[in-house]
Structures are given as C-alpha cells and as structure tokens.
C-alpha cells in the first residue's frame, strides 16, 4: 500500500505545475461548503444587509447595492461557476471523444465532415451564437441550463485533439498486433487506444472546462445568466449594471475577478502539467 502510494505520488512530485494547479482548484471548490459552516448562506439573498457597505468585521467582503452580503455570495457562487465549467467540460469531452474517435478511426467522408464542422465552428465568435441561443430560450435560466448552453461550443478542441491522436496511434505496431490478434474495432478503441490517450483526454477536459467557464461568464456579464442564483458572472453583471466601478465599490467586483483569475490559472497549470506527462519532450522547454 505504501509502495503504491509512493508510486502514485512520485510523478506528481516531478510535476509541480500539476500539483499547484490541482491544489488551487481544490481550495476553490472546498471553500464554498466549508465557508457555509461559518457564514450564514441566507446573507446571499437580496435585502438582507445594509446596501453599499465597504468591508468590515461584520461583512468581510462588504455588501452590494441590492443589500447582499458579498462573502456568502462568493462562497455560494464559486462552486456554481466551477460546476458550470465541469458540467459543460464533461459534455464537451464526451461529444469530443465520440466524434474524435469516429473521425479518426472511420476516416474518409465522415472524417472530412466532422473535422470541417469543428474547424468552421472554431473560427465563429462562439459567444455570439450562445447569445442567440440564450436569448431565444429566455425565461428562468438555471445553472444546469447554462452548462448545457455553454457546452454546445465546448466540443471542438477535444474533437480535434483526439482525432489527430487517434490518427497517429492507429498506425502503431501495437494496434496492428491487436487487429491481427482478432480484436474488433470497439474493443481496440477501449482497450488499446483509450489508455494511451488518457493524458490527452484529461488535458482536453481541462481545456473544455476553462472555455466553458469563460463562455458562461461572458454570457452572464451580458445579462443572460441565472438571475436568481449567485454565480461569479452574475456578480460581475450586477456590478456593471449598477456602475460599481464609477461609484468606487471595488469590493463588489474585485473578489469575483480574483477568484476567476485564480480559477483560470489553476486550470492552466493543470493543463500545462498534463501536457508534460503526455509529451515528455516539452520538459526541455521549461
């Protein structure tokens, strides 16, 4: 057991980027539930505090114009925003895996269509397509709906990465051996290809999570987010709406920005760490 643990930890020790990134994200995720034990979550509701107060002992992050206590808003909002990212990343990766494997393994016309669709969608300003979708399905938006809307444009990078990896792996000796050994297509994919692709899959997932969070915050800042739930993007939206910057209410928009930047840095470090596992030649560069 101890030997196994050491074996699992030693690659982490050689990969400080991955560890730092994971620690940052973990802290952000745990912060909410742990903080809720110390702070009353009801304070995140409108009109529970005196509006526009700067940070003080009673309200450590101050209050906004709606009379929300901003500390519980941040504690509740951070996991929500990360949840949108994780959900849309999972959907994006799932679709990407299916399309990428099909494109890379079947090839031909199917490959051309899938690759073409991904390339074309990558150049389109995705956020604007999401605006059109979000404004059309208006009504009460929930956090889960946000994740689904955002995931519509989260599959292209995973598809491209996985497709190109499958294309190179397909021609390798061990795949040919498996074919000669009588394995069928799906079996080869699950038993031979997927294990070799794990670092790429993980890195695509992280990329999809980051782009999901980015898109969701953009939509929310434009006013297309869940109006009744506290997320980081909605906090930015309300702060913009009530011109918090011009009124000097820095405690309103400052903390969400810090948390968002930490989130993106954490995700970036994780993906850089995963890239080093997937592609050892990169270690030379850093």
């Amino acid at each position: 057991m101890a030997a196994w643990l050491a074996g699992a930890i030693s690659p982490l020790r050689r990969n400080p980027q991955l560890v730092t990134g994971l620690v940052i994200i973990l802290i952000l995720v745990i912060m909410g539930p742990v903080g809720m034990l110390l702070v009353d979550p009801k304070g995140a509701k409108v009109g529970t505090a005196i509006p526009d107060l700067p940070p003080s002992a009673e309200y450590p992050l101050g209050t906004d114009t709606h009379g929300r206590n901003l500390l519980p808003v941040m504690l509740l909002g951070t996991p929500q925003t990360i949840k949108i990212g994780l959900l849309s990343g999972a959907i994006g990766l799932g679709v990407g895996i299916i399309l990428g494997f099909v494109a890379g393994y079947v090839g031909g016309v199917v490959d051309n269509i899938i690759k073409g669709a991904a390339d074309v969608l990558l150049t389109v300003p995705g956020l604007l397509l999401l605006v059109v979708i979000a404004i059309t399905v208006k009504g009460t938006v929930t956090v889960n709906m946000m994740a689904v809307v955002v995931s519509i444009l989260a599959w292209m990078w995973p598809t491209r990465t996985i497709r190109s990896q499958v294309l190179t792996l397909r021609e390798r000796e061990f795949v040919r051996m498996a074919k000669l050994g009588g394995m069928k297509g799906p079996e080869i994919i699950v038993q031979e290809l997927v294990p070799n692709l794990l670092p790429y899959l993980a890195s695509s997932f992280v990329g999809a999570v980051a782009s999901g969070i980015l898109a969701s915050i953009g939509l929310e800042a434009l006013g297309l987010g869940p109006q009744n739930e506290p997320t980081l993007g909605m906090t930015i939206f309300w702060a913009l709406r009530y011109t918090a910057v011009l009124r000097g209410l820095w405690w309103w928009w400052g903390p969400p920005i810090v948390i968002i930047v930490l989130t993106f840095m954490g995700l970036f470090l994780i993906s850089a760490g995963l890239d080093q596992i997937a592609n050892p030649r990169l270690r030379r560069l850093t």
């Binding site: 300003p125 208006k138 930047v261």
Partner: protein, 333 residues
Amino acid sequence: MRGFILRRLGVFFLVVWLASTVNFALPRLAPVNPIRQRLLQAVSQGGAAKTDMEAVVAYYEAKFGLDQPLWKQYLNYMWDMARLDFGVSIANFPARAIEIILRGLPWTLAFLTVAVLISFALGTLLGALIAWPRAPRFLQFLVAPLLTLSAIPYYLLGLVLVFLFAFTWRIFPLGGGYDLSEMPELSLSFVASAVRHSVLPALSIILSALGSWALGMRGMMVTTLGEDYIALAEAKGLKGSEVFLRYALRNALLPQITSLALSMGTVAAGSVVVEVVFGYPGVGTILYQAIQNFDYFVIYGVVMMIILSISAVTFLIDVLYPLLDPRISYERK
C-alpha cells in the same frame, strides 16, 4: 491557387448560410416564438408608437406568419439576409436594425483591428526575444506576469483598468467613445478625443492577448533555433540580427499567423463585453442594450454582422497565407 480560393470562398458562404439558418430556425423551434411574443407585447404596451408597432406586426405576420408555408418564410428570410435587411428595431422604432448596427460597426472594426494588430506584433516580437539566447536576461522575468495577464478575460482586465487609470488616477476617461462636447466629424480634436477614449479598452485586449502570442511564439522559436540551418547561418558568420530576423523569426512566424486566423472569433466575442464595460459606442454596446430590451431583430443583426466580418477576415488571412510561406501550395494532389 484559384481552386483553393474558390473552395475557401465556399467555406465562407457556408458559414454565413449556416449562421443565418440558425438565426431563422431557433425562434421557430422554441415552444412560443419569442419574436412574435415580443412584438405583441410591444403593441399591448401602447403609447405613441402603438399604431406603428401594429404595422410592424402586420408586416412580420405577412412575411413570417403561420399562414405562410415554412419554405416560403425561409426564402423570405434568406432574401432579407442577402440584402442585410434585419428588420426594424423594436425598442427604437422606426429605426431599422441595420442603421443602428452601422452606426456602431466602424467603431468596433477600427478599435478591434488596431488592438489585434498591436497585441499580435508586440507579443510575437516579445516571444521571439524571450527565446533568443542573446536577448537581455530581464525579458525572461516577463514570462510569469504575461502568463497571469493572459489568464484574465479581456473585460475583467478592462474593469481593473477603468478603476485604476480612470477612477483612481483620472488619466483616461471613464467610458464612452468621445467627449460629449465634440461633434462626431473628421476634425483633429475629435480624433484625438476618440483615440484617448479607446486607449483603455484597447489596452485591456492588448495586455491580456500579449501573453498567449508571446508564449506561442517562444515555443515555436525554441524549436526553430534548434534547426540545422540556424547553426549554419551562425557558422557562416552572419550578424546576429540577421540570423534572428531572416532565419529564425520568419520561419517561426508562420504558425502564429494560423493561430491569428483561428483566434479572430474569440477576440471579437471578448471585445463585445469589453465595449459593454467601457460603454464604447460600438456593436457590443448596441448588442447589450438590445439584449436588455429583447430587441430580437437588432440582436440577430449584430450577431450576423460580426460573423460576416470575422469570416471575411479569416478568409483574407487564409488567402494571403501562401504569399508569406512559399513552401505552401494549395494545389490538390
């Protein structure tokens, strides 16, 4: 070459056609057509524009009403799109959506072009220098701050910049596109005022895009510097600057241009929100106001215009690419 341009043109029209089809299909797939609902609501609100709105509803019903077969609605819609006729603005009747959009488009295009070009040129040069062994050592220390900046979405960086440079230190204006005392005309003072108002929005895009350009270029440059032809150029005794510019930089630059074409969409989408933060008079602010008013025709119009512009730009970059890299030919084998 001509075959390539034609194929690439085909892709351009495909994107525009797909985007307009999505715009057509979405409201009709919704359980209640939100456009019709919004129009009827505008009529029931009454007021001075009531009879006008009724005319709009009658027009909309005649063209897209339930009595029209779907294919006819679709053809009507496509014909309108082909002429850039997006309908009328519901919130600012009787202005047409395209008039409102065209008021903002020059602002956005000018601002975005300058910001993208500056960030691309600066970032690429910086990245090349960071990888160049004979460059000053202090450049190495820029990597960490650049990475941090590139982790911030444009518009959030914009918020911080307004707070620091406009609210706290009062160096630049708080927002808007020009001083209200200026008349929008081609005079020196108006242009100066417009430039002064664009500095902070542009800076928020430049600062946060700089990092990704620099890091991408650094990676390419490291690979290029390992090539044999660099060693040969050095061995021939060429000047350092010549090796840097003509041998290393030029070859490492090419993948950067591909990523420039790929990133145009993301940059445009991010700049929409930057405009909202600054109240900049471009299409982003128009889109934001239209969203608050559920002004559907303006929203669809803005999205179409931006997709159209970005597709045109990526088309141009792709077509000009072979001029930069003579090794590439687009002839089909």
